[in-house]
């Protein structure tokens, strides 16, 4: 390409300073989302279901008194 011809680009469909959030679109951080997800217990603890949907019960501790540490 010669130096005089600029690189051909498409028409920009967003302004550089457009905010990344559009009102009305759901936000992952919204209140209530944490509780909706599986494996989170109300007291801040969690179960293996937090990490996996495949036989999660098998990854829970064998003794219910043990801390339930979900796989990473």
């Amino acid at each position: 390409m010669s130096a005089r011809k600029p690189i051909r680009t498409g028409r920009p469909d967003v302004k550089p300073d457009a905010p990344s959030h559009v009102k009305g679109v759901k936000e992952g951080n919204s209140t209530g989302n944490y509780d909706k997800q599986d494996g989170h217990l109300p007291d801040g603890r969690s179960t293996a279901r937090r990490s996996t949907g495949i036989n999660p019960g098998k990854h829970d501790p064998i003794d219910p008194g043990m801390p339930n540490l979900s796989p990473a």
């Binding site: 300073d17 905010p19 990344s20 959030h21 009102k23 936000e27 951080n29 919204s30 209140t31 209530g32 989302n33 944490y34 989170h40 007291d43 801040g44 603890r45 969690s46 937090r50 801390p67 339930n68 540490l69 979900s70 796989p71 990473a72």
Partner: protein, 599 residues
Amino acid sequence: MTTRTAGRGQETGTERELVEMSWDPITRIIGNLGIYTKIDFNNREVVECRSTSSLFRGYSVFMKGKDPRDAHFITSRICGICGDNHATCSIYAQNMAYGVKPPPLAEWIINLGEAAEYMFDHTLFQDNLVFVDYCEQMVKQTNPSLLRRAETTEAPNARIHGYRTIADVMRAFNPFEGDVYREALQVSRVTREMCCLMEGRHVHPSTLYPGGVGTVATPQVFTDYLARLLRVLDFVKKAVPMNDDLFDFFYEALPGYEEVGRRRVMLGCWGAFQDPAAVDYDYRNMADWGRKMFVTPGIVLDGELLTTNLVDINLGIRILLGSSYYDDWQSEETFVTHDPLGNPVDQRHPWNQTTLPKPQKRDLEGGNYSWVMSPRWYDDRTGDHLALDTGGGPLARLWATALAGLVDTGTVRATGGSVEINLPKSRALPEMSFEWKVPRWANTIERNRARVYFVAYAAAMACYFVEQAMGEVRAGRTQVFSDFDVPDEAIGCGFHEAVRGVLSHHMVIRDGKIANYHPYPPTPWNASPRDSFGTPGPYEDAVQGLPIFEENGPDSFKGIDIMRTVRSFDPCLPCGVHMYLGDGKVLQQVHSPTFGAAG
């Protein structure tokens, strides 16, 4: 804070022969730092100094209109070495604006990541960059007689660090070749890994968010951190006594060296390491949870602790102009008239600042000469606008924490006049204790000495944090995120310590978007030019009146004492120094890293 007009032993009004000398750029800083001096070689004194910055960033301009939840990802890019400090500070400001309190484990994880960052950055800067100015190769060129004396001076703590004489210590600092230089590179790699374990990535964290973190809190992640920490402890235990030996030698061998870089004790620390049991990110309780931080916020003036109240600290911040390339915003919009406690907020406060850049020619003789503004702290008792410095970060942190006497974790205890640091047994060395005592001066040597003590402080704190985090995990409390909604209208402020000192982020949200955002990192405080009252900034103040101990004359002058002083403030990594002599002779010195190889 005064500009000297006469040198030592010289009567006022007599003629002085001044040589202009400049170092521009001293690089890796927010903008390019240049130091312009006038030196009286006959009286061996720097008479005048101006610090300039030739780069405009404009974060406060382009943050407007952005989604506030992006603030920490964007502002992290302010710095290529302490980006995670910016991210953390921005998250503190966002937490306040959104009214969200992260779970305790999230706070411990952030604290662990930040502790690793302090260890990483201070080690890299101290051993790989500051000590180039103190290494054998450099001292041989600037102060040969000092090196001769170092060869015969036994190092008092030789049995701990293994270097028999002070000259051996200096040889260990030689770039590329010295043992300390090379070991520090390894340590800074390991400490970066520790930061990555907690924050996902270094320097721009990927797992820190308002409301918590995304780090999956498994026992493995904390044991990985601990295993690395114990390696680092070995290095720290040797570094502290070695630094003490070196710096004590300078005082002893060069009487009067305490005057180098000395300025009035005017230190600011905005606090670091939140205590999850206390912090709720509510501005109205900020004084209380601020005092519970594991590095106490405070302002030290002439050796006395003025305040530890973050609300007072916040309301006292004033951004002055005077020698900066900006138009005044006095008649612009006032975003925040009163804080949530009802206190009036000044138009010169960051919440109300409007950045109006006005590029122009640099005028070092009474005109504007820097892109850096002049942040000051308004002391309402005296009406002074104090040009606080951070002492490179550690000096202010340790000083404020020591005087406040509030921190006591077992591993670290502030006594009111000192800070005791207890490090547990590590791989090679038994448990050891250090005590950082409040020094007599705020000068170049003490800024550098405090740095190594703060590495020990951060390491001792990390030991405490990792225990607390493991306690949470063992109890099964693995929650690391609290959800929140972004309000349409809100304000927030975050106070933290970047590695090299005070860091604040002030945010105003309107219509769910950022209406105003002003980060104030440490370097604008330290590198600020003369303000509208004519008060010089800390670099200028510390270099003005500086006695010269270098043995070279004007022709081969390296300005080592000036460079040591400016670098003691940790103006990020000084990798190249281009020196200009007033008579038109240009010297180019490559300072590091090729210095050792070429020398």
